[in-house]
Structures are given as C-alpha cells and as structure tokens.
C-alpha cells in the first residue's frame, strides 16, 4: 500500500485530486483520515473523500461542479461516468 500525494483545494471539497497515479488499495490521508482507493485512479483525477448518495453535489474549489449519478463510498474515482453536470451539456448521453 502506498500513501499518495494529493490536493484538497478548498475545505468544503468532497473530492481530493491525486498528484500521482494511484492503484486500488493505495491510500490518501485527508485530515488524518485514511481513505483507501477502491479502484485505480490516475494523476490529477478526483477521488471521493466523503460517502455520497445519488444526487449529492460534488464539490471542488469549494464550488458545486456536478452531482452524483449513484450512491458511492469514499475512495471512489469521480469522473464523467458517475458524476452528472447540468451546465454545458444537453444530454446525459453526450
């Protein structure tokens, strides 16, 4: 298990940004809380740091960047497959 470098850009954020490639089982330590990666996550991608339920907002830079498409525990990789966004897109399928 590796302890990964990461950034949490704002204290309100529900995601951390990895500063190196992570493998399933690696961890990030956010405010002394250990969060285990549930899947491989690449450099600069987002990891959920708060257990979330469907339609919860995803917060980065302290701002709402989208919503959860389904329930997900902390340690989940967050990207277009599991985060929706109503701005700038006409359809989910895009």
């Amino acid at each position: 298990m590796k302890t990964l470098k990461f950034l949490v850009l704002n204290p309100k954020d529900t995601v951390a940004v990895l500063l190196e490639n992570g493998t399933k089982g690696d961890r990030v330590l956010v405010s002394e809380e250990e969060i285990i990666l549930l899947e491989n996550v690449e450099f600069a991608h987002k990891v959920l740091i708060a257990d979330s339920t469907k339609n919860d907002p995803v917060i980065k830079y302290g701002v709402n960047i989208g919503y959860m498409k389904a329930d997900a525990p902390k340690g989940t990789w967050i990207h277009g497959h599991n985060m929706g966004c109503d701005r700038g897109k006409q359809k989910e399928s895009f």
Binding site: L7, V17, L19, E42, K46, I65, H79, G88, F94
Partner: protein
C-alpha cells in the same frame, strides 16, 4: 514600476518593433511571405480571409486586420492587396495611417504580378526597417502594459498550478496600474455569478451575464443529435487529464484572471477607451488563435499562455510566455516552454511566490527578452475570427 518600450506617434507603447507585411486578402499571402523573408524584422500576417464574405464576417476581417496594423508592437506597415477583394486594401491602408505610423500600400493587379510586387514590397519594407528597426526603447510606466491570458491544451495541472500563478501575476500587474484581458467565455460558463459580482458597476455586471449567456446559447444551438460524441464542450485531452466537465474546467480557467475587479467587457479586437485600466473580459470563444488575435487586437502587447499538455504556437509580433504545471511535459517539450509551475504540484512552491517570479519574467519580456515561441519563430496564433453564423456576438 517602469519598463523600456517603444512609444508610437499616437502615444501607445509597444514592446516589439516589427515591420508588418499585411495581406488584405489571402490571395496575397505568397507575395507577403516573400517580402517578409527578405527584410530583417519583418513579419508576414498570413491569413485565409478577405474575399467573398458579407456582414459580420467581413466586419471581423476589417476590424482585425486594421487592429493588427495599428498595434503598438508594429513600427511600420506594408499593405499588400490583390485588387478585386471585398475588403479593400485602401480601407486597411487609410485606417492604419490614422495611427500616425509609416504605412505604404501595393496592389498585385496594379503592379503587374507577384514578382514586381515582391520587388517593390521588399524595397519599401527595407526603407521602413532602416528608419525603424534601430529606434531606441524609452522608459514607460507599467500602467501602459496589457497582458492577454489564455490556456490551451489544458490538463488538470493548468487549473491547479499554472492558471492560479497567472492570476497571481495578473493581480500584481493590475495593482501596478496595468491591464489584463481574459476571454474564452465558453470556458467560463458556470463562473458568471462570481465574475459579475466582481464587476465595477451594474452596467458591467449586466454585460458579463449577457456575454456568457450568449456564448452558452450559441454553443447549445450548435449541438446536433446526429453527431453524438461531437457535442462535448471540453476536449478529449481535457477529459483524459481528469477534468470531468465544463464547470470544473471553468473554475480552473477563471483563475487566470486573478481576483481583480472586472473593469469592462470588450468586443473582439476593439481596444478599451483611453484611460480604462484593470481586468477586462473580451467577448469571444476559446479557439487558441482567434481569441489570442482578438485580445492582441484589443491592445495586449504580450500573452501568458498556460498549457498542461504543451503547444508550440506563437504570435507573429507579440511575445507569448508559455507556462505549464506539468513537470513531465515541461521536460518533454522544454524548447517550447518559458516557465514551469510544476513545483507547486510537487508541493515545493507557493502560488504567490511563483506569481511574483512570473511577474518579473513579464517585465523582462516586455524589456525585450525573447520567449521560446519567438526563438522558434512560431506564428500560428494569428487567426482572424469568424462569426460562425449570423450571431453578431463575437
């Protein structure tokens, strides 16, 4: 704080001293390039427009080429026309002449073909070069410096390191009395409330909302159900780099403008009113070349361009400082970069310190220090905007 620049006849200040060879229509591109190649300090402004346009497209062609000719980084201009184009070379010549700088016009159909026009153009441009190229720099105030800020080939390091550093630099320049132009309004969708709240008054706040909503409507109108997969508003490279959607990208992009109040929203290639200073938005979209050309048309003498994934593009007569936050790409494309903010990603430097370091580089470049894109003679960012349909909001 001061820098050394070139003061033009109309009082504007340049940081480079080129002779511009400008075709009024694309048919003159080859002649223009032949002239520029033979004259020291000359730059060719090759472009694909000038013929068969109407309405706002023709207005953008005229506005842009005139703004290039009048730009303070240009010492003198040779206009090269064909003779039958819709955007008349005489209009370009007359409008540049009003700025008080030396300008001559040659027309290929009148001169009798390419070779004769090239010979005459080289002679004129060489005379301008002898008059202008050794012009001494004079002391100018930083309030006369305007920087355009842009990101292209974005990855997540742009939003995490390079863009915030550009924003910190911008805040230093604005507090010294200078100006910054931020555009790419399509990439600011989702940040309009934040920007409007920073407007200096209600009128500017309304302009911020109107400009960002207009570009959003335009983008939505361009989406087509037949081409699913071609309707995304962020590029595949952005997405692969960890940026999931337009709002997340916008939040990373808006950092380039720092935290200064928004003075005004400018239209494409139309400079601010005399005396207006500070942070401006320019009403256009994010095509790297078209938007940089518009911001330079608004009077920016220098560009700060962040690129996580790396781009070689430069501008014919304005220095483009290339920054990245991506250590891997900085090493891999080293000759194309001027400044690395990857030490922020490593946790070894702060945004504030790097912002000051970049500000010092901006002043050095204004004083004449060559950028990577200048040393490589890159010119690709000169592109004339298109109206994309009948919408005049370009």
């Amino acid at each position: 704080m001061k820098f050394m620049g070139y003061r033009r006849a109309n009082g504007t200040v340049g940081i480079r001293n080129h002779i511009a060879i400008i075709p009024s229509v694309f048919c003159a591109n080859n002649v223009v390039e032949h002239i520029a190649r033979q004259v020291k300090g000359a730059v060719a402004l090759r472009h694909p427009v000038g013929c068969s346009q109407v309405g706002f497209d023709l207005e953008l062609t005229a506005r842009t080429l005139i703004a290039m000719g009048r730009h303070p980084n240009i010492a003198a201009v040779v206009v090269v026309g064909l003779g039958c184009e819709r955007f008349k070379p005489t209009e370009l010549y007359e409008e540049v002449k009003k700025s008080g700088k030396p300008v001559e016009m040659i027309v290929i159909q009148e001169e009798g073909g390419s070779s004769k026009t090239i010979t005459k153009g080289v002679k004129i441009a060489n005379q301008f070069a002898q008059q202008e190229v050794n012009r001494p720099r004079v002391e100018c105030d930083l309030s006369e410096l305007t920087i355009a800020v842009k990101c292209g080939g974005t990855d997540a390091t742009s939003g995490l390191a390079a863009n915030p550093v550009v924003g910190a630099m911008s805040d230093l320049l604005v507090s010294a009395g200078g100006s910054t132009i931020l555009s790419e309004l399509n990439e600011l969708i989702g940040t309009e409330d934040m920007l409007a709240a920073r407007a200096i008054n209600k009128e500017v706040s309304d302009k911020v909302y109107a400009a960002i909503f207009a570009v959003e409507d335009k983008l939505r109108s361009g989406c087509d159900d037949r081409y699913v997969g071609r309707n995304e508003l962020i590029s595949p490279g952005n997405y692969d780099g960890g940026v999931s959607n337009i709002v997340e990208k916008a939040l990373g992009g808006v950092y380039k403008g720092g935290s200064a109040p928004v003075t005004d929203v400018l239209e494409y290639a139309i400079p601010p009113q005399p005396g207006q200073k500070g942070l401006f938005l320019m009403n256009y979209e994010s095509h790297d070349g078209e938007v940089v050309t518009g911001m330079i048309g608004c009077g920016a003498q220098i560009v700060a361009f962040t690129s996580g994934r790396g781009t070689p593009a430069g501008f014919p007569f304005a220095p483009v400082i290339k920054l990245t936050g991506n250590n891997f790409m900085f090493e891999k494309m080293k000759e194309n970069f001027d400044f690395n903010t990857g030490d922020i990603i490593n946790g070894e430097a702060t945004i504030k310190d790097k912002g000051k370091e970049l500000f010092d580089m901006v002043v050095d470049v204004a004083n004449g220090q060559q950028t990577a894109a200048e040393l490589l003679e890159s010119y690709e960012l000169f592109c004339v905007a298109r109206a994309m349909g009948s919408n005049p909001n370009a």
